[in-house]
């Protein structure tokens, strides 16, 4: 090992699986945001379509759901789900699962509302003139309603996804505690062999987060510009 690497304490990262342990914390956070976004889009599409059915029961439940999501800060939801499930209900949820549940719970509500709004904004005459041309209900949806809905939905959905990705920084912050803890453990374990480990480990942690957040921030800015 070169003396430079040893003197700034990066050498610990090459010992055992230390590097992997740091990286996995980061990957968990990225995974959470990706899974939540995908789940939210799928659930939101189905839920939003159900909400246009004009069934009173669906209306009441979805209203309560939406309001709950809007009133509660995600941080609070996160605590409720994580500690509520583990402590009160005795379920053993990982922090990762709890985060996915909360972000999907939130994203699906927002997405459903966007889908509902886009669907009901299509004038009735669009349906009727399609029927009058001999189209079936399915053909009407396929060729007339869905393309118009998607057009209206796209910029709004991109905006939502951007917000979801930005909120990942919240998860990142929770994640960073994990990573710092792992870092601390690495430093402790290697106190004797690499006395300068602290600097190397923390610098690496910082760098990793920068590398992870930078593309996300770029992507969200790109999506926002595209939506505008």
């Amino acid at each position: 090992m070169s003396p430079v690497i040893e003197s700034i304490g990066i050498d610990v990262l090459f010992k055992g699986n230390n590097m992997m342990r740091l990286l996995s914390g980061l990957m968990a956070a990225l995974k959470i945001s990706m899974i939540s976004v995908v789940l939210s889009i799928v659930i939101g599409l189905v839920l939003g379509m159900l909400m246009t059915l004009n069934k009173p029961a669906i209306k009441v439940v979805s209203r309560i759901y939406l309001e709950t999501v809007r009133i509660m800060p995600q941080m609070v939801l996160l605590f409720i789900v994580y500690f509520g499930a583990t402590k009160a209900m005795g379920l053993n949820l990982s922090a990762e699962t709890a985060s996915i549940i909360v972000f999907t719970f939130w994203g699906s509500a927002e997405m459903a509302d966007l889908v509902r709004g886009a669907l009901i904004s299509i004038p009735v005459i669009q349906y009727e003139s399609s029927y009058a041309l001999g189209m079936t209900g399915l053909q009407t949806y396929l060729y007339v309603i869905i393309p118009q809905t998607v057009r209206r939905l796209l910029p709004l959905a991109i905006n939502l996804i951007t917000r979801m990705i930005k909120t990942t920084s919240l998860v990142m912050m929770i994640g960073i505690v994990e990573v710092l803890k792992v870092g601390q453990q690495i430093i402790e374990a290697n106190r004797k062999s690499s006395p300068n480990a602290a600097f190397g480990v923390f610098a690496t942690v910082f760098l990793l987060y920068f590398i992870a957040c930078w593309p996300i921030s770029l992507l969200s800015r790109y999506l926002e510009k595209k939506a505008a």
Binding site: I125, Q126, E128, S129, Y131, A132, L133, G134, M135, T136, Q139, Y143, V144, P147, Q148, R151
Partner: protein, 244 residues
């Protein structure tokens, strides 16, 4: 000659409120029937009952002797034989003019795309809009949009055409260009059922006038008779409200 369209004892309600009451009508091939009547008397609802856009409480609508059932499995097929043009512009905003016209013949009737495009272009030429084929509806004026809507109905080769106040939403200077298209269709012998507030046009185009008031057919007859010497007091009062 068998009638194309037969309506027997049609009764239509909205939430228990009667909108059409015992309406009877036959339309023979090549006949142009114009329906007039005060606003809210049920003209639009009547046309919508004919192609199953509204369900009816009682009575029958028959096309070529076959019952039109709004909830039946054949309704989409039956509607292909009934062309309809609405009052409000109803073109598909996400499709070009050509796509608006060829969508149904290709996807619904399964016709060859090239053939449908050729027919669409020649119909557009006929209404003076072939240069607009690649534009979007928002780039067209109201009168142009209605002419496209007519072409979109024609390309399905319907047996009967329903026009519901197709010029009512237009600026006055555009009314004529649309009515001229409808007149030319009448001249070539199309079977049509037309709702309009343009009385001079009604008189010129109609083989028969049907006057509806309060959801009932009050008077029916030849246009020259109806416009010069209506038999009922209600028709007289209705005609007096127009200055033409």
């Amino acid at each position: 000659m068998d009638p194309i369209l037969t309506v027997e004892h049609l009764h239509k309600e909205f939430d228990g409120y009667t909108v059409l009451d015992d309406v009877n009508m036959t339309v023979n091939p090549g006949e142009v029937v114009v329906i007039v009547g005060p606003s809210g008397c049920g003209k639009s609802t009547f046309l919508r009952c004919l192609n199953g856009l509204e369900k009816i409480e009682d009575g029958k609508v028959l096309l070529d002797g076959k019952i039109i059932n709004p909830t039946g499995v054949d309704i989409a097929k039956d509607r292909q034989k009934i062309g309809m043009v609405f009052q409000s512009y109803d073109l598909f905003p996400h499709k070009t003019i050509l796509q608006n016209i060829t969508l149904a013949p290709v996807k619904v009737q399964g016709r060859n795309k090239d053939e449908a495009v050729r027919e669409a272009v020649s119909l557009l030429e006929r209404v003076g809009l072939s240069n607009k084929k690649d534009q979007y509806p928002r780039q067209l004026s109201g009168g142009q949009k209605q002419r496209v809507a007519i072409v979109r109905a024609l390309i399905m080769h319907p047996e009967i055409l329903l026009f519901d106040e197709v010029t009512a939403a237009l600026d006055p200077e555009m009314v004529r260009e649309v009515l001229e298209v409808v007149l030319s269709l009448a001249k070539e012998g199309r079977t049509m059922l037309i709702v309009t507030h343009e009385m001079a046009f009604a008189r010129a185009v109609a083989d028969r006038i049907v006057f509806i008031d309060g959801g009932r057919i009050v008077e029916e007859g030849r246009p020259d008779e109806f416009f010069t010497d209506p038999r009922t007091e209600r028709a007289r009062r209705f005609l007096d409200s127009f200055e033409y």
